[in-house]
Symmetry: C2
Subunit: 526 residues, 2 copies
């Protein structure tokens, strides 16, 4: 346990506990009720503090951090409204199975019975996205509560959301007792379904689908076992549409993801008589649409859960490969796009030409955060030829993860370049993250697809069968009038920016951005 001043107040016991429990980072947007925690961060070594100008930046960064570092960060939030501002990205983090310890300041125990402006329903709001919620009762409890919160993020192979409410007097009160969370336990290995899965895949071959979820897709070894199983049995191999972190590029199996759209997913799964779920869940439509199914597998197809998402999915895939006697397969040989003079035609920017350029110039071991929404769907094929990388997606469908996720990924994977692919609509939800990138000099290149519309909604308006007759609906889905000036927005936050409208300029800008070692924003006019 790090050296700490004694005696401790409650806030100091909490910082000491976090440091001792393997939580080295706190993303913070504090207010008055958190001032003693701020002072404790100042006085006690071991927990680095990164400031966000909005709580959605703080919580999204913690999600991105967990995905790369594999350990939880803390957040520091200001009462119920501060937690509310961070809620959407906590929703996303929960769906990503990321571990986060939220520290939410609250009014002092004796103050909360009075009607004051910030009196709010912190616990109720916390419960809507947290696996674990507690409000400390006294300064003496805060250390143990903090250790329990860290522990709660680690129940299972995947992370969980723990929220500790810290009444101000429990932070400033004397008698703090530091504690320490137990080390993470190895995830549970369940192999009971392995023999049945082996029989099914042997029997059905291409009429079976092996579907990887986040627990499988995030492990390159698991991907390789899955590829071996597919090669050996002839089954189809797919990953879910959304994955928290997926290694990809040259030297990886390049596993195809399910499409977003209902019709395309139904077509992709057509003819399957069984789905073997490796850390995945049954394919369900992102939304419901009139006259379209919610469940996307063929009606008669059976489901076999090889491994639950919270279990050790790589171990289950390894055991399945062994049961089948499936030998390892070499990664497909693919062209190296960067090796040639130019692998893209110089010309205007389209979803496809941008993907080709990105695939060609992406540095080795980059982390790509994908919140490109309508423009991001074409990247899958192009990126199979790119340098090896990790691919992170917004997991809960609440846009606004991308820029904060880039902040967290850069801090969770020091030394690795980060590329954030952003729609212009989605980037605006947590645009304040640009400032944290500048403040921390993070190597994050942000590529904004400036289509000046909620393009995805223009498609969805058709998809749900809504009939429109006038211009009001069109205006509600347009981001023109005025157009956002992304270069100015970047500069306003202290980040250099550049606007490009053809492929060569995009390639130059990306290379410049990665070479700069700091943040840079590229506005791509589509």
């Amino acid at each position: 346990m790090p050296n700490a001043p004694t005696p401790l107040n409650g806030a100091e016991s909490l910082v000491t506990t976090l440091a001792a429990s393997g939580v080295p980072l706190c993303f913070a947007n504090p207010g008055t009720s958190e001032m003693h925690f701020v002072a404790a961060l100042d006085r006690i070594p071991g927990v680095r503090c990164v400031l966000g100008l909005f709580e959605g930046v703080v919580t999204g960064a913690a999600d991105g951090y967990y995905r790369m570092a594999g350990q939880p960060a803390a957040t520091l939030l200001h009462l119920g409204p501060g937690l509310g501002n961070g809620l959407a990205n906590l929703h996303n983090a929960r769906k990503a199975r990321s571990g986060i310890v939220n520290i939410v300041g609250d009014h002092a125990t004796d103050h909360v019975r009075h009607e004051s402006p910030l009196k709010s329903e912190g616990e109720a709001i916390a419960r809507s996205v947290s696996h674990w919620v507690r409000s400390s009762a006294s300064a003496a409890d805060v250390g143990a509560d903090g250790a329990a919160a860290v522990q709660a993020t680690r129940d299972g192979a995947e992370g969980r959301i723990a929220t500790l409410l810290l009444p101000a007097d429990t932070a400033w009160g004397a008698g703090g007792q530091a504690a320490m969370a137990r080390a993470p336990q190895a995830p549970a290995v369940h192999l009971g379904a392995v023999p049945a899965a082996a029989r099914l895949l042997r029997q059905l071959g291409p009429r079976a689908v092996l579907l990887l979820g986040t627990g499988g897709s995030r492990s390159l070894a698991a991907q390789q076992h899955a590829a071996a199983i597919a090669a050996h049995t002839g089954c189809r191999l797919l990953a879910e549409f959304y994955n928290a972190r997926m290694p990809g590029g040259r030297g990886t199996p390049g596993i195809e993801r399910l499409p977003y759209a209902v019709d395309a997913t139904v077509a992709k799964l057509a003819g399957a008589e069984a789905l073997v779920l490796a850390g995945s869940t049954e394919p369900i439509g992102f939304f419901a649409y009139p006259g379209k199914p919610s469940q996307l597998k063929p009606a008669g197809a059976m489901l076999l859960q090889l491994a639950e998402p919270q279990h050790d999915v790589p171990a289950a895939l390894a055991a399945l490969a062994a049961e089948l006697g499936a030998p390892p397969v070499a990664a497909p040989q693919r062209p190296v796009p960067g090796a040639e003079a130019a692998t893209w035609p110089n010309g205007p920017l389209t979803a496809d030409s941008v993907a080709a350029v990105v695939a060609a110039v992406l540095p080795e071991q980059a982390v790509v955060v994908d919140e490109a929404v309508s423009n991001g769907r074409g990247f899958g094929a192009a990126m199979r030829n790119a340098a090896p990388h990790d691919w992170l997606q917004t997991m809960g469908g609440a846009i606004g993860f991308g820029l904060p996720g880039g902040v967290g990924a850069a801090l969770g994977a020091p030394g690795r370049p980060v590329l954030v692919l952003e729609g212009d609509g989605s980037a605006m939800y947590t645009v304040q993250a640009l400032w944290t990138m500048a403040r921390e000099s993070l190597p994050v290149v942000v590529l904004v697809f400036a289509n000046r519309a909620y393009r995805i909604l223009q498609g969805e308006l058709q998809g749900v069968g809504a009939q429109i007759s006038g211009q009001k609906a069109e205006a509600m889905l347009s981001l023109g009038n005025p157009s956002l000036d992304w270069v100015a927005l970047a500069r306003g936050h202290g980040v250099p920016g550049v606007r490009v409208d053809h492929t060569d300029a995009l390639a130059r800008a990306l290379r410049d951005g990665f070479a700069s070692g700091g943040p840079m924003l590229i506005e791509a006019l589509l």
Copy 2:
């Protein structure tokens, strides 16, 4: 009821119902599950739609709109995470007693049992800030549910928050039945405490305080009755620190507000033997501080509730003035600062010099939205000499109301100029509101106090008695490194901006901004 296509689907019945029930405006940030509502807004006249790029803009604008228009707007939000993003400003609106009808799209009834990315706890999140929550069960119910929601915003003299969750299939389903909310009822008049209040004020004179809350301070007539009562009895007259809307300037009584800080409030109330509460509540500290009281009145002072906040406070004050036989008093004669060549010394910008300039150049009947936080506290005295205006404050302590509030105030008071006073820290929470100002060509001048710090927290860190030893705490409260470039941020959102650092330039910029008739941002370097 407006003409509407028949037969109606659920979404169309809801838009028809809103239009018929006196809800002419919808602030929207829609997603897929709201597309039928978007289509209905497009097809059915009577509800204007204003787009926000972030949900906190949408809900804050609805609060500002209610305060000026006196009628609720609707919001359109996307499932639990969208509601979460709007939660802080709904918290503020609840504390402001503003009426808002939230329409929150949800997954279709049959889809919600499946695990999909956006499956979320919409109802639980809604309950934390809403007086009324309902989820429509079928398309046939949606119209009646919408009318009930509008009705729920009107229970009492002050507004309330109603949240209607709209599963997608109840929006697209056939069989919609439009309905209409009842007209607002007059607030309840309770005069039972009038005789006791009269006796107390007569008896104690300057040892009594008449304290106005929002229900009293927002009515100029109520202010005038209160001033007559104070002049007649010699009692002290104060308003709460925070007021949802307070007419001020020349020709008004210029009622002093309680200070923010605990010590200053205790000093201001010293010697009071009774507080007569006119739509106000007992003075409570904004936060608790070690060794300082939560209840700020003198220990032995008695409390008499003349009128509850939800009752007809102006009627109670009128009755009290009549009971006392207090004759009307003329508003104090005050100098007209704009009449002289210059009423401020040309020089650097300080909280005081900015207040003097604003007071001098403010146009007649301006609406001022005050979220200047640490720099806003000095405005009270200076503004007594300004042109008549309304003064709106962030009511729930969750910063991020100011810019959206300016949007809503401009739409709720057409033809009146709006001035938003913003701290640089607070402006960043909902900076996306600038874009809506540009899109709707709203006459809003935004004055950002660029002190490049969470200045209020630097004071609070001292206030809570936290001891700091190093630079980490200082860095957590600084917004420098990098400095935000507010002119660039404005331009990025389509709003012209200018940076000023002395009083003459500020006066010119303010006059230019008001003359432009559209939005403009002024970065004031302090």
